[in-house]
């Protein structure tokens, strides 16, 4: 639980100004989180990097071959 406790301590000691500054540095102040649940079986990310850049892949049978090509390129 060390990481969690460290995060809590960091958070408690962080000023509002520093919080705002970090949000800007991490570009989280402008990040839009999609709160609407969609059980879309065909959308995935390749990895953490693609998640952070919101590079979601839509997966359909029609696009299957193209996506396979992209997956190969990503490797």
């Amino acid at each position: 639980m060390n990481g969690l406790l460290k995060a809590l301590q960091t958070s408690k000691e962080m000023s509002q100004e520093r919080f705002n500054e970090l949000e800007k540095i991490k570009k989280l102040d402008k990040k839009i989180y999609n709160f609407n649940y969609t059980d879309n079986f065909f959308e995935v990310y390749l990895n953490k990097d693609s998640y952070l850049t919101s590079n979601k892949i839509t997966y359909t049978n029609v696009l299957e071959n193209e996506i396979n090509k992209n997956l190969s390129l990503a490797v």
């Binding site: 969690l4 809590l8 970090l22 999609n34 709160f35 995935v44 990310y45 990895n47 998640y51 490797v75």
Partner: protein, 184 residues
């Protein structure tokens, strides 16, 4: 010899993606709102993966083939939300974060838990650096308890709870294998 703590996780998905997962070690990461946020999701037993297969066939009429896969999930860096002390600390962290974000109570209530987890992981390096796997219990109210539990006085056992793992880092997944090919 160093022992690495791990569990066997079960994941159901369409054949093509599972093939890529098994042959090329390409994880199947999704974004979830009401569970654990970003990650590749695993059940801790095959029956739950079979349940998920049935759900997917029911919801997606266009799918005719699904694969149930298994893999070893390395859990040395786990955020275990089934541990109440961990969950309480996580809750405190969210309260501090949301206060600094200036969320009103009603806004706070509307943010799905998966997004709360993602927000905290995005902001606090202490979380994203230390925790690569998250574990929770899912409550499935629609599932009926088995008679042997339901019809036994003072029975404390239930079928309504399921263990779910979300793996946020593909390095924590190893030995992916095909367990079963399922046809509609």
């Amino acid at each position: 010899m160093k022992l690495i703590p791990n569990i066997i996780g079960y994941h159901t998905n369409d054949k093509t993606r599972c093939e890529n997962f098994i042959k090329n070690s390409i994880g199947i990461f999704s974004e979830d709102t009401h569970w654990l946020g970003y990650g590749m999701y695993f059940w801790d037993n095959k029956s739950n993966a079979t349940y998920w297969k049935d759900e997917k066939f029911r919801k997606h009429k266009e799918i005719n083939v699904l694969w149930i896969t298994q893999a070893n999930i390395i859990i040395d860096e786990i955020l275990d939300l089934t541990d109440i002390e961990v969950a309480k600390t996580f809750e405190k962290l969210w309260e501090d974060y949301s206060s600094k974000k200036g969320f009103l109570q009603n806004e706070n209530n509307e943010i799905p838990i998966g997004k709360k987890i993602d927000m905290l992981f995005d902001f606090y390096d202490e979380l994203s650096n230390e925790y690569k796997v998250i574990k929770c219990y899912g409550q499935y109210k629609g599932i009926k308890d088995l008679n042997i539990f339901y019809r036994t006085n003072n029975c404390k056992i239930t079928n309504k709870v399921r263990v779910i793992y979300s793996v946020r880092d593909e390095k924590k997944i190893s030995n992916p294998k095909l367990l079963e090919e399922c046809l509609r």
